[in-house]
Symmetry: C2
Subunit: 226 residues, 2 copies
Amino acid sequence: MPHIMNKKKAVVLLSGGLDSATVLYHAKAQGYKIYALSFDYGQRHKRELRFAEKLVRINKAESHILKIVFPWKGSSLIDRNIKLPDGQVARKEIPGTYVPARNIIFLSFAASYAETIRASKIFIGVNQIDYSNYPDCRKNFLNAFANAIKKGTKIGVSGKAVSIEAPLVGMKKKDIIIKAFKIGVPFEYTWSCYKGGNRPCGKCDSCLIREKGFKEAGIKDPLNVK
Amino acid sequence: MPHIMNKKKAVVLLSGGLDSATVLYHAKAQGYKIYALSFDYGQRHKRELRFAEKLVRINKAESHILKIVFPWKGSSLIDRNIKLPDGQVARKEIPGTYVPARNIIFLSFAASYAETIRASKIFIGVNQIDYSNYPDCRKNFLNAFANAIKKGTKIGVSGKAVSIEAPLVGMKKKDIIIKAFKIGVPFEYTWSCYKGGNRPCGKCDSCLIREKGFKEAGIKDPLNVK
């Protein structure tokens, strides 16, 4: 299919959550051929990967799910012996759900993937407005990381650096949801809850931020059964 | 053992090669408790990991070997369908043994490990003098990456960033070997050859660079049977 060969390529970090799904649809709307990259890293909410796979199938995207074993744990998101903290929608501190260097690792693999397939962009659904205050979700980190991959890859030193696109980084959750609605993101195939049970717990950071966003956007969340 | 609890900690990226072994002994000589990190990433020369394990045992270090599966290949070092290029000791181009973003990925895991155990330093045995011209072995990349982990980790944004130490980066192979000899690196437990056969091939970049280094240092390489 030579017409596909000519399409510009993008690697999309796809967790299966609302933000990364929105970014996938955003990149697709911009005309990119999508190469989705997901991680099975021992997260409590591994259920999100089923949603990632569903989104990949719907969009006929290329994809990989990489398995990572963190032997050193250190986060309540990957260690079931540490209690999940109670949820908050606007944190001042970095909570126990923080996984050390998680997005640094994910972006490193995305850089390797992008360089190998000659994709010009990596899309990531981070957001630093309505979020859990994770440092690896902030714009100044992304800029620093983009500079590191420019310096440390063959494609980067040749002058054709892979750029990192974070279209949601400065948006409120409400506005992300409105954008997602407009570009046709199927909310029923996005998973946010950290607990990863059959239904969203409604109590963790991720559930609270999502609930507030839908409420403010005036859109019904198909996953919210309350 | 409370005296060990108080020792300053360092994560050492340990391939099992000559340079990373030298860096391990260097960090130990500086008084660090060693947390070695090695990767089983589908390299042809997986044999190096046996040497890494041996060095860990001799030094009673903590250690992890992480398994990484690169589904996208793209390098003759991890894809046996691509021929290894003929060896050279001073390359102008980046050869086919380059693995996209390899050290970026390794350093990302090292950052995660260091942050979790509260190590203040990551040691890496890269060298940009007698090397294969890989961009992720150069000082300006390491500086850029150190800045990224400062911005993107909890410990970094708290002001206690993990630093990256590359004590060999500006040294000639000859001088690395002389240094290694002085600090007691057991050369017989270091593996360099990319082919990973029973004996070093004597023809790949890595063998040629090692051979030249030992010759110029006037030291006998116990692995060289020629």
